[in-house]
């Protein structure tokens, strides 16, 4: 069995002046190459967990391993294994994009120090060009970072985060502050990078639609794991698909649904819980001309809100 990319066992973190544990007995495991999403409201313990996973914070107790390396005893090895795209850009705005990437490459011992780009080894320049092509950041790499848009800065962070070929890429609310187009592009790039480099992605986000594509999600609340599994499993607990229909002659449609023993509720339109039936079977049973016809599945956001509400109750 392959060594998990991320392995967290009974993780506890209590801050020095804290009266409760910020993270309280969290355990989960992520297989190599998986897309994992760590979700939860503000104060749930996501940021603390990510800080421990990326070695910037020490755990109070429990064990955390990245690609088999302990984050406390082998912090330096762990830092080689992980790439991080922070919620807020961690770029030096006074330098150019390339200079930011060059500092990163030297800090990670990928290439020797050279004061100018043209003095850097050919391997560096080639790798930089390739990554810049993937994210679509060409000549802009050589502009001062402060003159790049938010989307471009994110792309630059991706290039920098991937320079040292991390096995695990942490994305801490990577689309925060981005417009819709930049957000969509970013996810396309990340998908492309996953296919090319087979890296494990660990995402934290408040945009739950971004976690729909995850292999596994883990929902934290008040420092505890309150739900974990594949998104479809988490959503299934909320119920199955629904069929929403309506017609000009609503009385006739209502009579038809009652006559064919199809249970329904009226919430603006007629809402039919499919519960094992197919949408096709239901539609075939209706003769009345329909003006509304659509299926609805519970979203991860529905599941998330229900799970958190159950926790607060």
């Amino acid at each position: 069995m392959a060594t998990p990319a991320i392995e967290v066992r009974d993780l506890v973190k209590r801050y020095r002046k804290g009266t409760t544990n910020a993270v309280d007995g969290v355990s989960f495991s992520v297989e190599p190459g998986q897309f994992f999403a760590l979700l939860g409201p503000n104060g749930a313990g996501k940021t603390t967990t990510i800080a421990i996973l990326t070695t910037t914070l020490s755990p109070t107790s429990g064990t955390v391993r990245i690609s088999g390396h302990d984050v406390v005893r082998e912090a330096s090895l762990v830092r080689h294994q992980v790439g991080i795209i922070f919620q807020r850009p961690s770029l030096d705005m006074n330098l150019t994009g390339e200079e930011n990437v060059r500092i990163h490459a030297i800090l990670y011992n990928l290439y020797p120090f050279r004061p100018f780009y043209w003095l850097m080894p050919g391997g560096y320049r080639k790798q930089l060009r390739e990554l810049a092509d993937v994210v679509g950041l060409g000549a802009d790499l050589f502009k001062p970072v402060k003159r790049l848009s938010g989307g471009m800065q994110r792309k630059l962070e991706i290039i920098r985060g991937l320079m040292h070929h991390p096995r695990v890429l942490f994305l801490d609310e990577p689309t925060s502050g981005l417009d819709t187009v930049s957000r969509r592009n970013l996810w396309q790039y990340i998908g492309e990078l996953r296919r090319r480099h087979d890296i494990t992605i660990c995402l934290t986000t408040h945009q739950l639609n971004e976690a729909e594509e995850a292999d596994h999600v883990c929902i934290l609340d008040h420092g505890h794991v309150v739900a974990m599994g594949a998104p479809r499993d988490v959503k299934t607990e909320l119920g199955h698909e629904r069929l929403v229909v309506d017609a000009t002659d609503r009385t006739a449609l209502r009579r038809r649904l009652v006559a064919t023993n199809i249970p329904f509720s009226e919430d603006g339109h007629f809402v039919i819980a499919l519960d094992g039936r197919t949408a096709h079977e239901v539609v075939r049973a209706i003769d009345e001309p329909l003006t509304v016809l659509r299926t609805e599945s519970p979203t991860l956001e529905d599941a998330y809100l229900r799970i958190l509400a159950a926790g607060d109750a």
Binding site: A75, R79, H80, P89, D92, N94, L95, I103, N109
Partner: protein
């Protein structure tokens, strides 16, 4: 080798930022001109002969040491700005030793400080401060010592202050008295006991 590369990269970053900051470049030329030629020159013309002191040479050495110390100390505290701008995350998450980060910062800011005082040395020659080659050679270790002390002072501030605003207040509180306590503009051969004590414990008076 890996740590040396990291130290060089961190130091080069400070140098690059200095070169790209026209305000700091201009200040590094204007400040010594104002302090040495105007302050030193005025003192020399009015008190030099009667006191038997070359005030231009006096203010030159004083401000040289002060500039080196202050520039390096302030450079170190720029890590606070990195903390605010989140670049510190990039540094501290990297697999290099924390010592390499600090040594890189001190070396980078020392280089910046030394470049800043070069116009001052040129000005000293222009104002006929009696500087021999031996003097200049002796200035090098003293200059480096001033920078390293400034770096150490900056490191203390970095560890105790939460933001650059607080550290700037400490700078004002610490550096202004030094003009008098460390003998930057006037000799401190004779001081009341309490000022002599304050001079001894002030960073540049030590």
């Amino acid at each position: 080798m890996r740590e040396l590369n990291a130290v060089a990269a961190i130091a080069a970053r400070d140098l690059l930022k200095f070169i790209r900051d026209p305000g700091r470049l201009v200040a590094s030329v204007v400040f010594p001109f104002v302090m040495i030629s105007m302050l030193g020159g005025t003192l020399q013309l009015n008190l030099g002969k009667s006191a038997g002191i070359n005030f231009i040479a006096f203010t030159f050495t004083g401000f040289l040491g002060m500039t080196l110390f202050q520039s390096t100390a302030q450079g170190l505290t720029s890590l606070m700005d990195d903390r605010v701008n989140d670049f510190a995350q990039e540094l501290f998450i990297s697999p290099v030793s924390r010592y390499s980060i600090v040594v890189g910062k001190i070396l980078g800011e020392t280089t910046v400080a030394v470049i800043q005082v070069l116009p001052m040395v040129v000005l000293a020659f222009a104002l006929r401060v009696p500087l021999t080659a031996a003097h200049v050679a002796l200035l090098v270790p003293v200059a480096l010592l001033s920078c390293f002390m400034g770096g150490a002072f900056g490191l203390v501030l970095l560890n105790t202050m939460s933001d650059s605003r607080a550290s700037n207040q400490v700078f004002n509180f610490v550096f202004l008295p030094q003009y008098f306590l460390a003998g930057l503009i006037a000799p401190i051969n004779a001081l009341p006991w309490y000022l002599a004590l304050a001079s001894l414990i002030s960073p540049m008076g030590m």
